[in-house]
């Protein structure tokens, strides 16, 4: 079974051989997955600020850098470099993280990054992909490598049982009249199970790309229901996309329920990702409870 990380490595290694514009910049993590003999593969050691700075310089010199590390070290530690060396320089790059919010919680808080997408959301011009299946990674990456824009691809160990079409806005997985649930990336299977377990008559949309936000897709889905009630289920910080749902539906009275990694406390627990899902009500039981209470009546 191919993981998202393997799909990422295979795709980049295939493309780097074919496209002289592509470069890879790492800070040790995953570096041995890429052909070190290729001069366009640059490992800077455990130096994440310089990893992003070097990527910026490569982009300024006309290359298409792929920047990769574990999520907290890719996004949080060099955040100012992402803001200034990539965004403010007005250059493009493809940032690819592994680790998700808490893919390996035995490593504790230092290796968790539920706020990554929210951080990118503070910066203009970023496309954000959150694939839910390894087969979704390759088409998203191939397109990103061809473009010149700024892209963040968030990979996870958690995935849905089957891939869905990507790159065409939100996909309708299930139709209903009581409201809309937007499931992002690897949350889809759990959302569908929760909806079915509660016999909720709701539309379920699937998003592997959350920025740009498919406002038209959400608006159309809401127009086809009897209630403008929208639940957003994201595998990262709760409420990350709520402002866009609100903006999309600003002309009509609506309700929003944001579900994601809770903001109120820092969990100092290890355990498994499933333990953390349960703690954040992101397991089927927790999601079912949210569906039941929000779509009541």
């Amino acid at each position: 079974m191919t993981t998202m990380r393997q799909a990422f490595v295979e795709t980049v290694n295939g493309e780097i051989a074919a496209d002289p514009r592509i470069a890879v910049v790492t800070a040790v993590i995953s570096s041995n997955e890429f052909p070190q003999e290729n001069e366009r593969v640059v490992d800077v050691g455990i130096r994440e600020q310089t990893m992003v700075g070097v990527a910026s310089g490569l982009a300024l010199a006309g290359l298409r850098p792929v920047v990769h590390s574990y999520a907290p070290f890719l996004v949080e530690r060099p955040y100012e470099q992402i803001k200034l060396d990539i965004g403010h320089q007005d250059v493009g790059a493809v940032f690819v993280s592994i680790g998700g919010s808490y893919d390996d919680p035995v490593w504790g808080r230092t290796h968790q990054s539920p706020g990554d997408v929210a951080l990118f959301d503070t910066l203009p011009g970023w496309t954000v992909h959150v694939p839910g299946h390894p087969d979704e990674v390759t088409p998203l990456l191939r397109q990103a490598l061809k473009d010149d824009n700024r892209v963040y691809v968030r990979l996870s160990l958690h995935e849905n049982t089957q891939a869905h079409p990507v790159g065409e806005g939100f996909t309708t997985v299930r139709h209903g009249k009581r409201g809309v649930v937007l499931a992002v990336g690897p949350m889809l299977d759990r959302v569908v199970k929760a909806v079915e377990s509660e016999n909720a008559d709701v539309t379920v949309l699937y998003a592997a790309t959350v920025r740009p936000f498919d406002a038209d897709g959400l608006r159309t889905a809401v127009q086809n229901t009897d209630h403008a009630d929208v639940m957003v289920v994201e595998p990262y910080l709760e409420g990350t996309s709520s402002h866009l749902v609100s903006e999309t539906l600003q002309q009509i009275p609506h309700r929003i329920r944001s579900v994601g990694v809770k903001r109120h406390a820092e969990l100092r627990n290890y355990g498994t990702a499933e333990d953390h899902d349960a703690a954040h009500d992101l397991d089927v039981v927790g999601l079912g409870s949210a569906v039941r209470s929000f779509f009541r009546g």
Binding site: R40, V54, G57, L84
Partner: protein
């Protein structure tokens, strides 16, 4: 060079950084007048030399030199920092013709310069990368990541110019050049006001990354 102080003086209102700007003026002039292989006509040429002003504080000398060399129209100097002006107290590469990077936040230029130099090497370009940092700016840890990486990756087409006006809060025991040398850089120390010495240092051959420490009188 004669007109640079006059052009410099047309930009008023940033007296706080006037000294910082004045400390770079001679090095910048020699770079653009005699060293860099770049003109307004070749500002987008992939084979050009690239100069990255990392020490973006007090860019008046930079703007004055860019104006004198024809990258920007000198008429825009007078209303710098106004709403419609492309010239701010920190340069923006999107707005300023000839500016290779946007800078202001310290410690960003040297890591970026490592990347542009590697990019030039990958492209087989004869272009070189020059980056100017301040001795106070070197306090930022990102510089020390980049100093090490440039040496390990043998980025020989990179020259870092350190304007040493002794503004680092805690100084550099043993000297700034030593900090680069210990990582494997070739180094030189010069009088940053001596144009001949600046020219000689910046055109010296080197087969590894090269740091030129340009000493300037201590800030007032």
């Amino acid at each position: 060079m004669q007109r640079i102080p006059e052009l410099f003086a047309r930009m008023t209102g940033d007296e706080k950084h006037e000294w910082a700007a004045a400390s770079t003026i001679d090095v910048l002039w020699v770079l653009y007048d005699k060293v860099l292989n770049v003109t307004p006509e070749t500002a987008d040429d992939p084979d050009r030399d690239r100069f990255l002003l990392s020490k973006g504080h007090g860019p008046m000398a930079y703007y004055a030199v860019l104006a004198e060399k024809g990258f920007i129209d000198e008429s825009i100097l007078d209303d710098w920092t106004s709403w419609d002006s492309p010239l701010g107290q920190h340069p923006d590469r999107v707005l300023v013709r000839g500016a290779e990077i946007s800078s202001g936040s310290l410690g960003h230029g040297l890591p970026i310069a490592v990347g542009t130099a590697i990019g030039q090497r990958i492209a087989g370009s004869r272009g070189r990368t020059f980056v100017l940092v301040g001795d106070g700016e070197l306090d930022e840890g990102s510089n020390h990541e980049a100093i090490a990486v440039a040496a390990r990756l043998e980025v020989a087409n990179l020259t870092a110019i350190v304007i040493d006006n002794q503004s680092a809060m805690h100084g550099w025991p043993g000297g700034i050049a030593r900090r680069f040398a210990v990582e494997g850089w070739q180094t030189a120390e010069i009088d940053g006001r001596d144009h001949e010495a600046v020219f000689t240092a910046l055109t010296a051959p080197h087969d590894r990354p090269y740091a030129v420490v340009a000493k300037i009188e201590k800030s007032r």
